[in-house]
Amino acid sequence: MPRAVWGFLLLGALACLPRAAPPPGVLRINLGTEPPTLDWTRATDSVSIQVIDQLMRGLAELGPDLRPVPALAERWEVTPDGRVYTFHLREGVRWTDGEPLRAEHFVYAWRRLLDPQTAAEYAYFLFPVRGARAYNAGKLRDPNAIGVRALDGRTLRVELEGPLVYFPSITTFMVTYPARRDVIEAYGERWTEPEHIVTLGPFRLEAWEHEYRILLRPNHDYFAGPPRLKQIAAYMVTEGSTALILFEQGILDIVRVPPLEIRRLSSHPGYRRVPALRGYYYGFNTEEAPFDDSRVRRAFGMAIDRAELPKVLRGGELAASFWIPPGMPHHNPSIGLRFDAEGARRLLRDAGVDPAKLPPIRVVYNTDQTHRLVAQNIQKQWQNNLGVRVELDSREWKVFLKELVVKPSPVYRLGWGADFPDPDNFMSLFASYSANNHTRWGSPRYDRLVERAARERDPSRRQALYDEAQRILCEREVPIVPLFVSAINLLVSERIEGFEPNPMDLMFFEGVEAH
């Protein structure tokens, strides 16, 4: 067949492309997977948050600078000792069934979160509340003994175990959102289905086609004014490259960029990148030689040129020698070990370690392309800069997690994403009693600094406490070596206006328009 005929056929085929104009006012996003639940008291994962944050609000919400600003509470005050918070609820907030919001809806939700029967995994977010931990552990039977009380319909009083300056930040997190006893008791496990669920956020649940898509409609009674969109269709396309094709076809409006495509698409007009509040680090098992010596750990930290990692990964990562990420209050970019191969070798010598005689250092990561690239780069750097031998080993995710708790390898990778944007969420991780501290390192001084910072109301004194704690963590004791801060890479369609990616990886659509 002559080439012209083929060309003609191809043109004809292109002409019948099913590119219907996207309906105005409809935003189509990709969740990636099915949200495990829309019950905000029992949710734990980022996909569920993505939907729940369209449906609900808390006492406070995150402002543009990630500080908590009033939402369902129009204001709050705290006693001088920092132990008792009083939240005053906004007037005229109504649930989607017309019922007005009352303080007791918070009391019910918080008791439900802490009730051992509920078995909510994130119950511990409210452990700072008086009696909460004991109640959750079954040691305290009376729910009235928990430090949360409705003084009247619009006043909520919260008593804490001790002073905690960032408590309002916690109230931006979904597990603290109010809930309706009548609805949950009437429908049991099925209360989150569209025909039963009652919410009060900017959008309401219209349909939930499991494993496929969720449809949201605007809540015209939303207290801050109805959103501009007519509908949000949130699909569950697992495969990143498929989602990308649907974006290119104009079927999805906002998608994540798969890591391998970032380079190709970084010049796309819809490409957006924001640094995430998510740190990536290597931890040492400080109980075993050679990493039981802080000089050795420091040497290994100094032998890494972190600037290489963003070049290898190409996902917009930011090299980080500090632990509190940029965008978080009390971040300090000057903290951390600088790259100094010569100094690192000297430190090893001082510690009496002969790199050539050291058995191979085992680095373990969970099976994943990014983690492998990082591990290979670190392996190369340690071998070149220190003259040690490095062995890489990967594990399936759950096996990896189990090993971390039971017997951490000499060096392991891990990350941490912020639950709420306060440095305590990052720093208390490495307290000696933290279950998330797999390094087996503990420093009473570090513990005290982090505890004091959690109570400290003066920002400059709080800064000094966190700086000191970070110096212990990242410069002197070095149980962990922070490597980089991840980035969020998105493609946003030109028809979408007013959408801003958020470093917490949350998406808000109240002010968004779709043309």
Partner: protein, 309 residues
């Protein structure tokens, strides 16, 4: 006959019990549990969660409870999808996978048998070579490559079919083609071999000598016997379709149950893994029974259940 089927079904129940037991044991031997999280749970919270799902009981007790539930048709709650029962999840996803699988099965048999028949009856000539080439391609190109290619070419560039999602019959074409490619190739090879086995036999010559038309000879005499080999392959064919559905459903964003095959294991969602495995095992058991019944119909020399008939 009825007695034979009843006996086979009874055996099937035994097989399912065995599958449930082995899967249960393997899952518990796998390191890492459903609630091992990147963000480690405090001990009191973990205790509450384990109590809720009765994971605090001895494993033997958990096993007996599971079997007890199973007898009553209760597959238990999912650990990952809070508040949803495994039965609910499978009820949503199973029809999607079965629809897609049936379409792929039809395509595999249709393409495979016709290709094999053409190849077998033209042995050594160009149609045979062309068919063999196609079959080799079908067998060797993995479904994630074929799927991506189809999405790119037929979906994105030509726009003939939707690239992904699940909104109507048209959306099933590309995934079904992807899913059918490998089994179609096997079916083609088996059909060709089957045709070659019988094509020179006496009864075919007799049929021709009787003056039957060539098409009648091919369809009624050659194909019917050649299909025996294909029917034997039915069980494994179903397995290929089922396991293939994981990748296909994932890349085409189809809300079927194939994806649970892997994700439920990664999540250590024990009841969901067991539920999916049992459903698939039941399918294979039924398919094998169907194969044996088909045998008897295709080849009168075969007697079911011994010489009772």
């Amino acid at each position: 006959m009825t007695r034979y089927v009843a006996l086979r079904l009874l055996q099937g129940v035994g097989v399912l019990w065995l599958v449930a037991t082995v899967t249960f044991a393997l899952l518990r031997l796998l390191p890492g549990g459903p609630f091992d999280r990147e963000k480690v749970l405090p001990p009191e919270v973990l205790r509450n969660v384990e109590a809720r799902y009765q994971l605090d009981a001895p494993v033997a007790v958990q096993y007996l409870r599971y079997l007890q539930g199973l007898v009553h048709g209760d597959l238990g709650p999912s650990y990952k999808y809070v508040g949803r029962d495994v039965a609910d999840i499978l009820r949503d996803a199973f029809p999607v996978s079965i629809g897609l699988g049936a379409l792929a099965l039809g395509l595999a048999l249709g393409f495979g048998v016709s290709l094999g028949l053409v190849a077998g009856t033209h042995r050594g000539r160009p149609p045979d070579h062309a068919a063999t080439l196609l079959a080799v391609l079908g067998m060797s190109v993995p479904s994630f490559v074929l799927g991506a290619l189809l999405i790119l070419v037929a979906g994105l560039w030509l726009g003939w079919f939707p690239a992904a999602l699940w909104e109507g019959p048209l959306y099933a074409i590309l995934p079904a083609l992807t899913l059918a490619a490998t089994p179609a190739a096997y079916v083609a090879r088996l059909t060709r071999a089957g045709v070659l086995d019988v094509i020179d036999l006496d009864y075919i010559r007799t049929a021709r000598a009787k003056g039957l038309s060539e098409s009648r000879v091919r369809v009624h005499h050659i194909l019917r016997n050649a299909l025996l080999a294909v029917v034997t392959y039915f069980g494994p064919l179903l397995a290929v379709l089922l396991t293939g559905s994981f990748i296909v459903e994932q890349i085409f964003a189809i809300p079927g149950m194939g994806r649970f095959f892997v994700t439920a294991v990664t999540n250590r969602d024990y009841p969901l893994v067991l539920g999916v495995t049992l459903v698939y095992a039941a399918l294979v058991v039924l398919a094998n029974l169907a194969v044996d019944l088909l045998y008897a119909w295709l080849d009168p020399r075969i007697r079911l259940g011994g010489a009772e008939r």
